[in-house]
Amino acid sequence: MESTRVPRADLFDPAALSALGHFEIVARWIVDGFLSGLHRSPRKGFSVEFADFRPYQPGDDLRYVDWKIAARADRWVVKQYEEETNLRATIILDVSRSMDWKGVSEEPRVTKRAYAEQLTAALALLLLRQRDAVGLIRFDDAVRTSIPPRARSGQWRRLVGALVEPGNGRASDLASALGQAARLVTRRGMVILISDMLVDVEAALPALRGLRAAGHDVNVLHVMDPAERDFTLAGEARYTDPESLLDVPAAAADVRAAYRTTVDHVIAEWKQRLGALGAGYEVILTDQPYAIPLRLAFGARERRG
């Protein structure tokens, strides 16, 4: 048996990875790398209806290797089966202006939006490979894109095509986006919200509560730039929110400790209030490899499946 060890792209630095190619290609690398890291094929439903052969990949369950072909042609193939979709997932992606920001750092870094889009593409591909139906809603101050969940071939290209559409509205109307999601996903499914969560908590919670009431699994991936998490900026300046134009003069060194405490409180508050709703919540930093958010999302999917 001959196997080639391929570097796992899901463990790469996101900024370095984004420089390697279009995010569509990168998304494939990420998903391939992620799946190979699971050491077994995540796919289910092999027993339903034979569909096709495909070459063996590391991690595939040996039970599905066609040993006759292996004996005849000295070639390892696994049998694929047509399977019914058992999950309908909707990814809600925040593309507001606040997402289009990255902190100043000695290391190259991607914007929160670029990170979120790359994550969305990879996550959608991963779910689609599981034969799940995946939909996408992009929003800023309005819903920009709305693609219903589908599992058919071509869905991923449609999703990827939507990701390059413009956004950058001056606000994040999360409530509208969540309402749209509720309308799109009529069957119980999984809703993954990818946002920097710079929204009004009190306005967002009712919509999230509605999704939960409809029986959806809600998972929030709170995307943060490390500079937002730790306030690693330096010097004295007027710090301005590009969405609300809120203007706060401060000396970074003086308020850093207080800021970090406040962010801790904010995260704790989100976690506590979303937890109370039964929704998942994780903070994702834009310098973390994609394997981390993928594992979180995949874990949620596994728990549901």
């Binding site: 920001w101 730790d230 004295e236």
Partner: protein, 603 residues
């Protein structure tokens, strides 16, 4: 508080920088996009009190830091704060009199004093001003290194010096300094006789008296030949200070004249008629002890044939009898070299001249004086009884005398006075007395000193060749002496010579006999000995001497370290630069700590 560099205090104006930054914080012009500004606003709202306090603390720390650095740069001197000592003007009086050569505890006192002085100079800082004053009153200034080099060259003197003068000069030297602290440091053996005339000084005084009792001392206090010119007989009397029996030796030149032993309070008396002729050097030596400086005393004398003398009848019977006595004693010989006569009967010099018995002859006497080139004349007759002063004729009653009036500019000495006026005068080849040698005029002829006085006049004043010094010149090392006119050279016993530059000059520093040469001939001698007071090594108790010289605030020590500390303790302030820098470092650390609490930690 004093500052060495007060201009640096202007750096304190920099405190405006953190103040300005603190006040201008709300007027920041730079804008930075930061989506999470809402968290920043919330953080400031939630922690406004602690942030304000922290900002205030940082501002205060920075203001204090700048102030402390400005203070440190100005090199302040504060009372009771700091390390080391403040800039001090220090005059060190180093007692290098001969008494410091005494050995105490196996080491000369001077060596210990010099070591202490070296340590004191070494403990000074570049901000200090130092002077070194030796017991001769000489003041040396300069850098620390220059003074250390100078100190290495200083040796004990052969005499007592003048420590009172040295102390006064040291005090006036430091008083003239502009430095805030002034101190006089005295390193001495505290010899009682050296400090009797010293007066209290104003600057702070630190006294070092090394520990240990002075040694038991034996000394030759005096050695006096009688008469100064031996013809050729004479005697030598030496006084010795000793607690027990001690051996002695008397030498003339390199020949031992006499040996023996003497005890406490016993003078040494030697009568001799040595074969040497001319000016001779001699010394009286004792067995050596721990203070070798006074174990020998030098003397000089002239040895030669007795002068031939004739007493003229005009001088009176008392003079004739005295001359006969001297001839009978061998201290004079019959002959006509020297005449003792009434002035009007004198025909030649050398002569001892008296007034004429008959006042009628006074004019003739004065004319004769003029003819002989004597710059004195007989004046008015004084019949009031007065007491004579001077030499052997001290306290002799004078009832009748002629005033001796100066006439001309010739050389002449006044040997004795009566009623405050010259009574016995002498010059080259003559001795002139204002009274007849008659009990009706003066009691001198009938008093015991008459014959010795006459012998002295004959031997010292008249028998010596013209221009010779009658008696040796007694001198203290380095002290001024007056030499006879025409003297050209001083020659030591070993033959080394020193040119004479003036009649009034300082005696050689080395003890011994120095012959006075004129035209290559010995015409006299200078005898240099330490003052006998130096042989008394008794000390003042250190605290007593300190209080005597410097008042109640004066300090005394017996160790080098204590003395150095006392000297610089006079400065009421100490350099506070180092403590202030330490404070600055603490402030800096506190500021860094306060800032550090705001820095991000590794994720």
């Amino acid at each position: 508080m004093n500052f060495l560099a007060p201009l640096f205090l202007t750096l304190g104006a920099a405190v405006g920088v953190p103040l300005l930054l603190h006040l201008m914080r709300r007027n920041i012009a730079t804008r930075v996009d930061f989506p999470a500004a809402r968290y920043l606003l919330r953080a400031e709202a939630e922690h406004s009190r602690s942030l304000r306090l922290r900002n205030l603390l940082l501002m205060l720390l920075r203001v204090l830091l700048i102030l402390v650095l400005a203070l440190a740069a100005a090199k302040p001197f504060l009372p009771g704060l700091g390390v080391g000592h403040g800039p001090t003007a220090v005059a060190i009086v180093l007692d290098n009199s001969i008494s410091t050569t005494a050995v105490v505890g196996g080491r000369a006192v001077f060596d210990r004093l010099r070591d202490a002085t070296r340590q004191l100079i070494g403990a000074s800082t570049p901000e200090d001003r130092l002077w070194l004053v030796t017991s001769d009153g000489r003041v040396r200034g300069g850098s620390r290194d220059a003074l250390l080099a100078e100190l290495a060259r200083i040796a004990p003197t052969e005499g007592a010096g003048d420590l009172a003068l040295a102390l006064a000069r040291a005090a006036s030297t430091v008083q003239g300094s502009t430095l805030p602290a002034k101190s006089v440091a005295v390193a001495t053996d505290a010899q009682r006789t050296s400090w009797t005339t010293a007066t209290r000084i104003a600057p702070a005084l630190a006294l070092l008296v090394p520990s240990g009792a002075p040694p038991s001392n034996r000394a030759v206090l005096s050695a006096v030949p009688e008469p100064a010119r031996w013809t050729p007989r004479g005697s030598l009397t030496a006084r010795v200070e000793t607690r027990d029996s001690v051996g002695y030796r008397i030498m003339i030149g390199e020949r031992t004249l006499s040996r023996g032993a003497t005890g406490r309070g016993e003078p040494i008396l030697l009568r001799a008629s040595p074969p040497e002729r001319g000016w001779q050097a001699g010394r009286v030596e004792l067995e050596p002890d721990d203070f070798p400086g006074d174990d020998a005393r030098h003397f000089a004398l002239w040895i030669g044939a007795a002068p031939t003398v004739t007493a003229d009848a005009s001088a009176g019977s008392f003079a004739a009898t005295a001359v006969s006595t001297l001839i009978a004693d061998g201290r004079a010989a019959p002959g006509s070299t020297i005449r003792v006569a009434s002035a009007d009967a004198a025909s030649a010099l050398p002569a001892l001249l008296t007034p004429p018995a008959d006042a009628v002859r006074l004019g003739a006497a004065n004319r004769e004086l003029e003819r002989l080139g004597i710059p004195w004349r007989f004046g008015a007759l004084q019949r009031s009884t007065v007491v004579a002063r001077g030499g052997r004729v001290d306290n002799i009653s004078v009832a009748e005398r002629y005033q001796l009036v100066r006439a001309g500019v010739g050389v002449g000495d006044t040997l004795a006075t009566a009623g405050g006026e010259p009574w016995v005068v002498a010059g080259p080849g003559y001795v002139l007395i204002g009274s007849r040698l008659d009990p009706a005029a003066t009691q001198l002829p009938v008093r015991a000193p008459f014959v010795p006085w006459l012998a002295d006049m004959l031997a010292v004043r008249l028998a010596a060749p013209t221009g010779d010094i009658g008696a040796p010149i007694q001198a203290l090392p380095g002290r001024p002496i007056r030499l006879p006119a025409g003297a050209e050279t001083l020659e030591s016993q070993a033959g080394s010579r020193r040119s004479i530059t003036a009649e009034l000059m300082d005696a050689p520093e080395e003890r011994g006999v120095w012959f006075v040469l004129r035209g290559g001939r010995r015409v006299g001698a200078v005898v240099v000995n330490a003052p006998p007071e130096e042989s008394a090594l008794e000390r003042w108790p250190a605290p007593t001497l300190a209080a005597r010289l410097g008042g109640v605030s004066a300090r005394s020590a017996s160790t080098n370290a204590g003395w150095v500390g006392d000297t610089f303790a006079a400065g009421t302030t100490r350099p506070a630069g180092t403590p202030l820098l330490v404070v600055a470092l603490i402030l800096l650390a506190a500021e860094a700590l306060a800032v550090r609490t705001s820095r991000p930690t590794a994720a």
